[in-house]
Structure formats: C-alpha cells, structure tokens
C-alpha cells in the first residue's frame, strides 16, 4: 500500500492521510482525467501489470483500483 500511497500523493498532490480506499474525484480536487490516467500509468509501471479499459473505467474510487490490481496479480 505504501507504493500506491506515494504515487497518489505525488500525482494528486494530497497528504498521506488523505489517501484511502474512499479517495475519488468527488473528494479529491486534483483528480481529473489526466491525473487519473497518469496515476494508472504509474501503477502499471510500478507493479508490472496492464489494466484494461473495464478496470480503468469501472473504478469508482481508489479501493476499486486496488482490487483491480490484486485481480491482475499485483502484490500490493
């Protein structure tokens, strides 16, 4: 989780305490489409996996993204 937290802090410009499973565009000011796609790209690079369009578009919050990473075999 530490890796995801660091990436989220850097891309979305938030404090570590704000990074949790409920984090989403609704409660994160810098969460726009560009930052989200950068975030996804960084996660893919970090964990060596590729998320597909369904994973990326069906996520509602950070918890959903973590679940998609787990399903793809990432060791969080």
């Amino acid at each position: 989780m530490e890796k995801i937290k660091n990436i989220a802090m850097r891309i979305f410009g938030v404090a570590g305490a704000e990074v949790n499973d409920e984090m989403s565009p609704k409660n994160t000011g810098n969460w726009d489409s560009m930052n989200y796609l950068l975030f996804i790209a960084e996660l893919e690079k970090e964990f060596g996996i590729t998320l597909d369009m369904d994973d990326v578009l069906s996520a509602k919050n950070l918890g959903d993204i973590k679940e998609a990473l787990r399903v793809k075999g990432a060791r969080l």
């Binding site: 565009p25 969460w31 489409s33 560009m34 930052n35 990326v56 578009l57």
Partner: protein, 338 residues
C-alpha cells in the same frame, strides 16, 4: 459487470446517439440535427469509413456513454498526401469523465490517421488531450472594423464562384506549395464544404484571369447577424498574395454592403499576415473594444480559439510546428450554424 467498448458508430446507433446528445448537450444542439450530422460525418468526400459514419462511440453494455466525431481530411504535408481527422464533439457522460473516458475515444481515433487535430475545445477536455501527448497552439484572430462609409468598389476579375471544378484543382496544385501542412482544398472538398452545406449560405468569391475562365484563388465569407453584432467572417481564403489584396477589397465591399460591424479572419498560420495588416486588419487585442469572437449570441468568455494536434502514426516520422499548419475557421466544426 457491463463491459466498456469503443467502436465506430453505425446507422443503427443513430437513435441512441441522438438520445445521448439530448442528455449531454440538451435539446437544440446542431449535432442532433440528422441532416447536418449526415453531411458532416458520413457524406464527407474523403470519409474512409463511407458509407459508414466517422464517429466513435464509447459504450457500457448497450448504453452509449461517450462520443467523438472524426471529420476526415486528406492533408497536404509538404507535397505528400497523408490522412488527418479533425476531432469534434468529444463528450463523455459525467460519471466517466474523471476516469479517462475521453482518452479511450481519442486513443482509438489516433490509430486511424496520420494527424489528429482540433480547435476550440473547452477547458474540461484540455487535460485529456494533454494526457495523450498532444501539442498546443492557438488560432490568431485578425480584425478590421473601419470600412463602413468608405468608397465601395469591386476590383477587376472578382466573380462569384458557383462551383469548383478542374480549373480550381489545377490552381490548387500550383498554390499548395505555399502551405506546408494544410487540409487538401480539392474541388470535391470545397464543393462539399461550402456549396453543399445543409444549413449555411456562403458568399464565395473567386479571382479570375482574363476571360473569366481560370480561377486563381478564392475567399469564403459568412455573414453572421447577432442581436448586438453583425460580422463578416472570412472562413477560408486561398490565393497568391497579390490576389489576396483583391479578395480582401471585395470582402470589405461585401461587409460594407451588409452594414457589418467587423470583418475577421482566424488562422493557425502567419500566412497573409502582412497583406492583412496592409489592408488594415489588426491582431485581436482581446479587449472589450474588439467585437467578441462569439456573436450568436454575443459571449465574451471565449477570448481565443485554441488549437491542438498530434502526429499519430509513429512510423511515419512526421514533424511540424503549430505555425506550419494552415488551419482556418472552416477546417473542422468551428463554423457551425449555431
């Protein structure tokens, strides 16, 4: 979980697409007009998907949740013919915007053309293009406001163009060397764009040689009449500089006859900059002294028209700076009826 998919729209999707446009744009948007839609996205002379539609849709199960129009152009790239698309009406259902729905549509368009470009996109879409590595520029606006009351005279050799034909194609082959990166102005394209437009009537003037047979250049004018402003927009113009002088005189005459408040020209290129200055045009100061860009209705929020592009097929190795492009108001969907 319903799967997401990006695919070309088909005729059978038109009903759902119309409903989607109504939901995201509200009623009355021009894109929901079937005649206009078919003209812009199906009947384009260089539509590589014809008789299909040049539209991508993002679906979730059976539902349309996003749209991207691709107006396909043949481009002249320093003498080489390449494929291009003006991306228009990128819209994604609000639930999916922050999750990159637009980026998937753009990515799919990028697979199909050498260059993708767009102008006048809104701020909400800018991060999506940026995330895909698109380059940016602007369309500069040049304006003339003081022509009313001046003596009106028609320069010699200027006549209305009723149809572009092979004479024009010959002229274009000669002229296009002056435009490094430009949508091909073939007779087929110009006839479709200006003479077969389902909603707009343009004033198209040509400069002709002796005898009136050989056309050497043209200007396309659109009279826009808003509640506060009446303007003549030069939406396209191709000619040698000496002929541009004559065409601009005719444009002034047309504007004067129609009691317009201003005449303006938008372009990504500096082409004609000196001739326009000589004719009295000045660069838009973006102050309240200049007429607004949008006059139907008047709206001062839009202060400039942005431009962004990407060379899509990596193997082609093409490169150009924003000012190398000759993109004007008529290229794309910036010259909509409303």
């Amino acid at each position: 979980m319903s799967s997401f998919n990006v695919r070309l729209a088909e005729e059978k999707d038109l009903g759902s697409l119309k409903e989607f446009f109504k939901n995201v744009y509200g009623t009355g948007h021009i894109i929901a007009d079937p005649e206009y839609f078919a003209w812009q996205y199906r009947d384009f002379p260089s539509n590589p998907f014809f008789p299909g539609l040049a539209n991508l849709i993002l679906t979730k199960g059976e539902d349309i949740i996003g749209h991207l129009g691709m107006i396909p152009y043949d481009f002249n790239f320093s003498g080489k013919k390449i494929s291009a698309a003006f991306l228009a009406s990128l819209i994604v259902h609000s639930d999916f915007r922050a999750f990159g729905g637009g980026a998937f549509l753009i990515a799919e368009a990028e697979k199909r053309f050498d260059i993708c470009y767009t102008t006048g996109f809104n701020a909400a879409v800018a991060p999506v293009y940026k995330s895909r590595g698109w380059h940016g520029g602007t369309m500069k606006r040049r304006i003339l406001k003081e022509f009313s009351g001046k003596e009106i005279h028609e320069p010699e050799g200027i006549m209305a163009v009723e149809k572009f034909d092979s004479n024009w194609n010959e002229a274009w082959e000669r002229l296009k060397i002056n435009f490094p990166v430009v949508p091909e102005r073939t007779a087929d394209y110009l006839n479709w764009r200006f003479l077969k437009h389902p909603k707009l009537k343009y004033e198209i003037l040509g400069v002709f040689g002796k005898g009136g047979r050989k056309i050497g250049g043209y200007i396309v004018l659109r009279l826009e009449e808003g509640a506060e402003w009446r303007g003549v927009r030069i939406v396209d113009m191709i000619a040698e500089e000496n002929d541009v002088r004559k065409l601009l005189e005719s444009a002034k005459t047309y504007a004067g006859k129609n009691k317009a408040h201003f005449l303006d020209w938008f372009s990504t290129s500096e082409k004609y900059g000196d001739v326009l200055a000589e004719a009295g045009f000045h660069l838009d100061t973006q102050s309240d002294e200049d007429p607004p860009i949008l006059i139907l209705p008047a709206d001062r929020k839009l202060r400039s028209i942005n431009f962004t592009y990407k060379f899509c097929k990596k193997s082609s190795g093409l490169k150009a700076m924003p000012v190398d492009f000759f993109i004007v108001k008529a290229d794309g969907d910036r010259d909509r009826p409303f």
